[in-house]
């Protein structure tokens, strides 16, 4: 049997049809740094002066050596030494300063980018968030921006400074002695070829390594998070065998890739030292013939040693450039998204909702071609409770998404109090509609702040009042710090039932004109269950409510029950009406009892 706990790497998210070119992305990335042109100009100026001063040190050393190779002149020597000290210190100062400014520019650029991405994302329509796994979005905002910033700091910054250095080195070398300059630079093409060779070998090796690691980590993650199943079916041996295979593969790929990258340092050293030997040879010969002097040779030896640094920086930077561009592409894909649900240009504010809701022949699909709702038409009067039921996937949650304009209909219209929801401002609409979700979501903040989230201008008294009406006040007071208790991530230090009560309380603070309730599957104890029911009833009193039921008992007393199947309303009416019809609803209701009932008529 083919071992199945291995899979290929998941396919990447689809790239839009007209993808920007790499150069365009690079320019766009650049713009985050170049907006600080003043500071960048300062950096360049400091680099220029600093590099010149830095290069003067070996030159002065050469002068000093010349001094020593003949009759030694103490005064001149002293001057030379002082010159070296001055140049070294000045150069240190300027280079350090330059580094500071560059660092601050890069961090500011990173801050700008992150801020822009986040601020752009928040107002995007819900469809954007539903389509993407959260992990991917977080990775883009956090990791990708970090990669970009790192590139700008380490690589681009280094590129500029090493580039300037290289240019000056070449100029100075040629100015001093063109023959030695050629001897020193003859290694450059060799060096470039060597780095290219290494890069050609290491790129595929690292890619293979990444893939192996990805597969191994994937398997690891899958089995460890599903370990209970592995135990329950006694499949540990197989899991170990599968993992061993992948771990070995990762090890082999790792050895290859890392050995190749280990070659770069000694390789660079060898080339540099051979170059130094060559310069020594050429310089020595010239000196012996009287065409040069020891001091110049010494200066060139120092310069040659420094030559390899800019060259290897370039090689490394090019690799990282591609990584940064790829990261940039992902980030810009988010920035280029536009909200799909927009207010009409002359959208009017929504007057206080009374609660007359009309669906007129509404059609909807998330994905073109797969209709979720077809020809939905119904009317709800102010204050009515509308129950929605039907098999999973029938479209009940979708209806909610449409009323609140998280998604727009394909055709048809939705009216509230006679206004089409497409004529009013989204914000007004949402502020007046309260939604209780299946999974209660709370922020890791104090209880009071969670309540106040509904209305930032609510007073503490308002919140406590709402909590009382939601049957939440008692358990809140029993918490260690009462209303100031800090909730952990996702509100985990409360029980499921308590979280639900808290979200209902939050809703009370909001005091919405309409309520939408997506019923949680009952996994709370009976007592809390009753409290929740009571709180919900209080919430719905006098407000038009839409309730998605998983237990038919919740919607039994609805003014209107809509039975949805495959996107269509196949039955509608009150509970009694539909039970008399003995149609789909009747069957659904009766299936709860699994034919165990005698005298069922008494109940229904």
């Amino acid at each position: 049997m083919k071992p199945f706990l291995r899979r290929k790497s998941p396919s990447k998210s689809p790239i839009p049809a007209e993808a920007p070119t790499k150069i365009q992305t690079f320019h766009r990335l650049n713009s985050y740094m170049t907006r600080y042109s003043g500071k960048l100009a300062l950096v360049v100026v400091l680099l220029l002066i600093g590099t010149i001063l830095n290069l003067m040190v070996p030159y002065l050393l050469g002068l000093g050596i010349n001094n020593l190779s003949g009759p030694r002149d103490a005064a001149a020597l002293g001057q030379t030494a002082l010159g070296m000290v001055a140049a070294a210190i000045a150069s240190w100062f300027l280079m350090a300063w330059q580094g500071q400014v560059l660092a601050s520019v890069v961090m500011k650029g990173l801050y700008d980018l992150r801020r822009q991405v986040f601020n752009h994302m928040m107002p995007l329509s819900l469809g954007f968030f539903d389509r993407r796994p959260i992990g991917e979005l977080i990775s883009s905002v956090t990791n990708d921006t970090e990669v970009i910033a790192l590139f700008f700091r380490s690589d681009l910054g280094e590129l500029i400074s090493q580039g300037i250095r290289l240019i000056f080195l070449v100029i100075v070398m040629f100015w001093l002695d063109w023959r030695l300059a050629i001897a020193a630079l003859v290694v450059t093409p060799l060096f470039t070829a060597f780095m290219q060779l290494l890069s050609n070998a290491s790129a595929p090796a690292y890619q293979a390594l990444q893939e192996q690691i990805g597969e191994m980590t994937g398997l690891m993650e899958e089995t460890i998070s599903g370990q209970k199943v592995v135990i329950a079916y006694d499949r540990q041996e197989e899991a170990i065998e599968n993992f061993k295979e992948l771990s070995l593969a990762a090890m082999t790929a790792g050895k290859k890739a890392r050995f190749i990258s280990q070659l770069s340092r000694p390789g660079t050293l060898v080339l540099t030292n051979l170059d130094i030997a060559l310069v020594a040879l050429v310089g020595g010969s010239l000196t012996l013939k009287g065409l040069s002097d020891i001091g110049t040779v010494v200066t060139f030896l120092q310069y040659t040693r420094q030559l390899s640094v800019p060259l290897s920086t370039f090689a490394g930077a090019v690799d990282n450039l591609f990584g940064a561009i790829a990261a940039g592409e992902r980030v810009f894909r988010i920035l280029d998204e536009k909200p799909t649900i927009v207010d009409r240009p002359n959208a009017i504010p929504m007057p206080p909702i009374q609660g007359h809701v009309e669906f007129r022949d509404v059609d909807f699909s998330y994905v073109p071609g797969r209709k979720i709702l077809k020809h939905n038409t119904f009317t709800a009067l102010p204050g009515q409770k509308i129950g929605l039921c039907g098999p999973t996937g029938a479209g009940k949650s979708t209806m909610i998404n449409l009323i609140t304009r998280y998604y727009d209909v394909d055709s048809g219209d939705i009216l509230i109090d006679g206004h089409s929801i497409y004529d009013v401002k989204q914000e007004d609409l949402r502020r007046q509609i309260g939604i209780v979700l299946q999974e209660p979501f709370l922020f890791s903040d104090t209880v009071m702040n969670n309540l106040r989230y509904a209305r930032l201008d609510a007073t503490e008294a308002d919140c406590m009042d709402a909590a009382k009406r939601a049957n939440a006040h008692d358990f809140i007071m029993r918490l260690p710090q009462g209303y100031d208790t800090l909730l952990t991530e996702r509100g985990n230090n409360l029980s499921q039932g308590q979280r639900q009560l808290l979200t209902i309380a939050r809703m009370m603070v909001q005091d919405p004109r309409m309520v939408i309730l997506d019923e949680a599957t009952s996994n709370v104890d009976t007592q809390t269950e009753q409290k929740i029911q009571q709180a919900l009833n209080r919430l719905m009193a006098g407000r038009t409510s839409f309730v998605i039921a998983h237990r038919l008992s919740t919607i039994r007393d609805s003014d209107l029950i809509l039975v949805l199947k495959a996107g269509q309303i196949i039955e509608r009416g009150t509970h009694d009406e539909m039970m008399a019809q003995q149609g789909f609803y009747y069957n659904l209701f009766m299936s709860q009892f699994k034919g165990k009932l005698a005298g069922v008529a008494q109940v229904v």
């Binding site: 706990l5 350090a96 994937g218 020891i294 029980s495 005698a598």
Partner: protein, 584 residues
């Protein structure tokens, strides 16, 4: 010092030879590195200064040769370093993974999945990096340092004091800088976590953010965290940018000093040109080990922390040991009778919290072939109770018997064979549908697999997929709906033809019609097997031969549905709330 890493070294037992060879290679490389400046000295003093052409050329050739040899031996050592580190990573991964595979549920409870994954990935990497650094630098560091010292002492004794000044100043600078950076970096990490958690929260709770129209508020919140991070990450970076220029200026100043003090004609012990230059090169080589130490020390402490975390896992004792006594019993004889005798259970103490009692004095008997149900709310202990049957946990007191045999005396393999459990969260593995369904019995025939799938009401939707049973299951089964995943999990349990089938709230995602169908089908397929349903919905349990009603770890009532309706007030309340009435 470094207690966990020292313990860790035990895995290298038997690798003395390759380790010794690698260090020898590195030592030789270092020695050749030290010889190069000597040749430079010779070139200058004995060659150029006196106009000796032959010596000049010879010295150049030796310089080249020694450089190449140093690089060659260094590369050889690198090879060893890579071998050692990658093998180490593999060995550690296997140790950990095997250990995790030997865990029982109780062990897994103590180690959250995310922690285990961190152990297996970043902890392994940190240890690997440290190993690599040690192999590369262990021999090199003392040789370069002491060698340079020695050569400076013998070659340019009057400049020795400059070297000491350089060493002390550099060591001081490095120490202070790194300590400062370390502290600031921690602050940076904390601020990064803050930024990320705002992001994470807002993305997972985006519906709530939009429902309350608080996008602006969230943008401001993120901005505060973002700004705090910017400041916190700027500081360590600022210190880091000082380091390289500082090292350079130290060397340059020292060279200037060497020039002056060595070259000054009034100095009775004046140095030669060659000596001065060799000295400046040895300055560089003496600093290399210092810088290396500065890099390696944080790596070591990170590796120590990783090793400590790792040993916490390695030292865990599997809580459910496999008995190795032979029984007068075999799987074929299994009937499926389950008896609980005074069973109590509590979760072990964890993180300073006292043990949590979960089950109190459970006594029950389930006859072979019965269909029973455990009904209760979350926290009533029903899941824990059924988890005791296949020994996912062991009871704290009392005993559980299958067919009269204490489950602790049964070989685990046999136990798992006769008991199949469908867990609450339906976990599927990536692969094919058929691989998942046959997970418990890889040699199941096609008919057996399909029969199980039909009973689980999975056959219809699987057949509707073009590839059918060969269809791919994505990681975690995300390409199937919750209800479909549940049905596949049920099919998986049924394929292994167990004598006892336990379904822990596994039909919660199914609507009541489908649930009824599945229950009937299971009854048919598993005729003769004991079937146990754990649920919160009355509709799931209503048709069972026996219903055990649980609350707060105890069985408060038991009987058929009709009996409970008569006798149990709690049952009546639940009926009322879920069904909207008490069916007579």
């Amino acid at each position: 010092m470094l207690p966990s890493l020292r313990r860790f070294i035990a895995i290298y037992r038997g690798y003395h030879r390759p380790f010794g060879v690698s260090q020898l290679l590195q030592a030789i490389a270092s020695i050749f590195t030290l010889l190069v400046p000597l040749m430079l000295q010779k070139l200058l003093d004995d060659g150029l200064m006196v106009g000796d052409r032959d010596t000049t050329i010879q010295s150049v050739i030796w310089m080249a040769v020694f450089s190449c040899l140093a690089a060659g031996f260094s590369i050889a050592n690198s090879w060893y370093a890579v071998q050692f580190s990658e093998h180490t990573a593999h060995a550690v991964r296997m140790y950990l993974y095997r250990k995790i595979q030997s865990f029982s549920f109780g062990n897994l409870d103590q180690f959250p999945t995310s922690d285990l994954l961190v152990n297996m990935t970043s902890d392994v990497n940190l240890i690997k990096t440290a190993v690599q650094s040690v192999i590369l630098l262990l021999a090199q560091t003392p040789i370069l340092f002491l060698g340079s010292l020695y050569l400076i002492y013998t070659n340019s004794p009057n400049l020795v004091w400059i070297m000491w000044a350089v060493v002390i100043v550099t060591a001081l600078v490095l120490y202070l800088a790194l300590r400062q950076i370390g502290v600031l970096f921690e602050t940076r990490q904390a601020k990064l976590d803050d930024v990320n958690s705002v992001l994470q929260e807002d993305l997972s709770g985006i519906r709530v953010v939009k429902a309350f129209v608080q996008e602006d508020y969230e943008m401001r919140r993120y901005d505060r965290a973002n700004e705090a991070f910017r400041k916190a990450s700027l500081r360590p970076m600022q210190i880091a940018t000082y380091l390289q220029p500082t090292l350079f200026v130290i060397i340059n100043l020292a060279t200037a000093a060497a020039l002056w003090f060595g070259g000054n004609p009034t100095n009775p012990n004046a140095a030669s040109v060659g000596q001065i230059l060799a000295f400046s090169q040895y300055l560089a080589t003496v600093l290399v080990p210092l810088v290396a130490l500065a890099i390696v020390m944080p790596q070591m402490s990170a590796a120590e922390a990783s090793a400590t975390r790792m040993f916490r896992v390695m030292d865990a004792v599997p809580l459910v040991p496999d008995p190795d006594n032979s029984l007068d019993w075999s799987v074929a004889k299994a009937q499926g009778q389950i008896v609980f005798e005074n069973v109590s259970f509590q979760y072990p103490a964890k993180d300073g919290q006292p043990p949590t009692p979960v089950l109190k004095n459970i006594n029950l008997t389930i006859e072979p072939g019965q269909t029973v149900a455990f009904l209760g709310a979350t926290g009533s202990g029903k899941s824990t109770l059924v988890n005791l049957i296949p020994r996912f946990y062991d009871a704290t007191s009392g005993r559980i018997m299958i067919d009269g045999i204490d489950v602790r005396d049964m070989p685990l393999q046999d136990l798992y064979h006769i008991v199949a459990i469908v867990l609450q969260e339906s976990v599927l593995f990536s692969g094919q549908v058929r691989d998942n369904i046959c997970y418990g019995k890889p040699d199941a025939t096609e008919e057996e697999m399909i029969a199980a799938a039909v009973a689980a009401d999975a056959h219809s939707f699987v057949s509707a997929i073009p590839e059918g049973y060969d269809a791919t299951v994505a990681r975690r089964g995300t390409n199937f709906s919750g209800g479909q995943r549940q049905r596949l999990s049920i099919a998986r349990a049924l394929t292994s033809e167990p004598k006892i089938v336990i379904l822990d709230d596994s039909t919660s995602a199914l609507d009541m019609e489908t649930e009824a169908r599945v229950q009937d089908a299971i009854e048919q397929l598993m005729a003769g097997a004991t079937t146990i349903f754990v649920a919160q919905r009355i509709s799931t349990v209503i048709a069972a031969d026996q219903i055990f009603l649980m609350e707060a770890g105890e069985i408060v009532a038991s009987g058929t549905h009709e009996q409970l309706v008569q006798t149990s007030p709690l049952y009546q309340i639940i009926c009322e709330s879920q069904l909207g009435g008490v069916p007579a």
